[in-house]
Amino acid sequence: MKSMHITASAMAIIAVSVTAAAARDQVQITGSSTVLPYATIVSEAFGENTDFPSPVVEGGGSGAGRKKLCEGVGENTVDIANSSSRISKSDIELCATNGVSEIMEVRIGYDGIVFASDVNGPEFAFTPADIYSAIGAQVAKDGALVANANKVWSDVKADFPAQNILMYIPGTKHGTREVFDEKVLIEGCKETGAHALFAAVAEGADDKAKASAANKECMKLRTDGKSVDIDGDYTETLSRIDADKSAIGVFGLSFYQNNTDKLRVATMNGIVPTTEAIAKGEYPVSRPLYFYVKKAHIGVIPGLKEYVEFFVSDDMAGPNGPLAAYGLVSDPELAATQAAVAAETPMAPLE
């Protein structure tokens, strides 16, 4: 029991000594592991070019980051959440219940999602329909829904090689997965006609409810091991492909660009993924990247506003800046973002 007393008093002493410790003087950032490399590039340059300390940047996933942002206001909460998908209504509600009423949304640019396989493997030219036919749970066959029985890629489309179907896709905690679901699976589902079949049998009050029920069905993947969720980051997908050369993985464009010696990228609808193709809107699988700033912390945490302004400045996020060099597709509406940041405009409620 005495040990308990000693422990308790030691903790009390520490707690008291902390109140005397200085206030936090660096920005704390958490969230998406896709945005993490961009944020570290900016953090490093910010530390070099200003008298403020470099912000501390953590990864961990978009959803987890936004939840942390919404924990409340105060020095022991984070200032910025990076996110590779847009903040959801439920996040904003959570924020509001915890007293985080004003959030600034900053769109930093666009990122492509690419499909890549081992560099020595065959070349693939995909359409969203091919991906859906390969890993969707149920596919359309002769006007009816059947369980997916495709074993090799040549079952999907005759001119594909007879290589086993195996796809490594991002797990559900990743923002990338949302884009994959929306831009590849649901699109592919529609192209193959499975979406219409799902909608026909779906229960719902009107067409809209039926369509959203069909979307949910389209996002269901086969569970026989042909599609594997990767909860880690892209390095894990890369090492899995290294171990099983017949697999196809889903990567961020910037990751692929750093590993072109190991990976061969597949085209989507005949378009090779490049920053130019994404900027022009030709490559279909891309998504905007965001970060969310807790407005209550501006003016309290030193360097917060300066960091945000530095991030969206032409020198960093512009088409010739270091972020673009790393693989970010710069936002054509960057000037509007810069103005919004300068005016500290909080984001409008989501419809």
Partner: protein, 450 residues
Amino acid sequence: MTDISAQPMPSQSAAASIMVGSKGMKKRHAAEARFKAYGVVAIVFSLGVLAFMLFTIFSDGISAFRQAQLTFPVTIDAAVVDPTGTRDRDTMAKVTTFSYAKVLNNSIVAALLAKGIPQEKVSDKELGEMVSKSAPAQVRNMVLADPSLVGETVTISVFANGRIDGYFKGRVTRDTASRDSNVSPAQLDLADTLRDAGILSLGWNSRFLTNSDSSDLRPETAGLGVAILGSLYLMFLVLVICVPIGVAASIYLEEFAPKNRWTDIIEVNISNLAAVPSIVFGILGLALFINFAGLPQSSAMVGALVISLMTLPTIIIASRSSIRAVPPSIRDAALGVGASKMQTVFHHVLPLAAPGILTGTILGLASALGETAPLLLIGMVAFVDNYPGAPIAGFFDPATALPVQVYSWASRSDPAFLERSSGAIIVLLVFLVIMNVTAIILRRKFERRW
């Protein structure tokens, strides 16, 4: 019993001689030989795995301690770095590293021209990309520290780009470069020429141990400075927190506590706590130290408190067993000549138990040094660019730790970070070996057997 032994022996064993092995004896010998062989196989297998692990780590990581550097004269253009001409530090600080990059780019083009090295296949921009992106900041800091350098020409030594460095380490080849958007085979050819001309050289890279972490754009400058400092802070704080609490708890439990149901419960709980997965302590630390006590995130202090909770049971168990190992005769003798209970403990038992306590503490610290999981939850697995300050205020600054750095480099996209990650493992192993050897030496030197 006597009845049985009085019975005549069975004829079979009566006939067998001691000198000639019976069937049963052969069988037992064979079993023994087999068992020995199993043992040898087990040891050979584990040594083999260890050797393989060390081989991969060292072959991947030892190159992190060597780095390609470029040495060339830089003319610090006054028109760029000090457009107002005031030579005032604060005004000059407005000029960013982007402008300094142009200064460096012009200087390296001029340096090649002066040496008569042709670069027709490599554009001026590509030539500039062969220099590390950290170089502009290096020059900027130099100029801001000494404004009199403006307009002068100084010879500086900066890192080469990570891809060029990788070429000299065998990571990048002309074949991979032809497919890589970040480097071209022509740049590699030029790098060879630069090496022959003495501009580019490969040397010992002490900055791997002192630099802070860096972004994905410049793996060549990433270093372990913050991580080593963070780990040292962690170890120091864990020591300061754990040793007094652990030793006091074990003395009380061994020497003073009555043996009843309560102390039994405490004993079982301590053993159980030692087996709790470390991530659980991370969750506890987040709730208790950050959310409730309001300690700063990512700081060495919170990390140390969490790791202390984890290490305490180990230290208490080790201390208790070394206190128990002191023979009761010593206590009896002390009590017999009139020492109080406390005098007995502090004058006789504790000094004799000290080597064991010390060894247990060092081994506990060594295992705490390699801990990552609890640090993940309290924000120490992060990109931290600034060194934590000097103690005591520095204990509350953001920091990382060595195993954390291994983890975060292993998940970076640029393959150059793999080398860094293995290099960090080597540093971590060196720390562990030092701690374990210290523990062995202390034990050998002070241990007493009765």
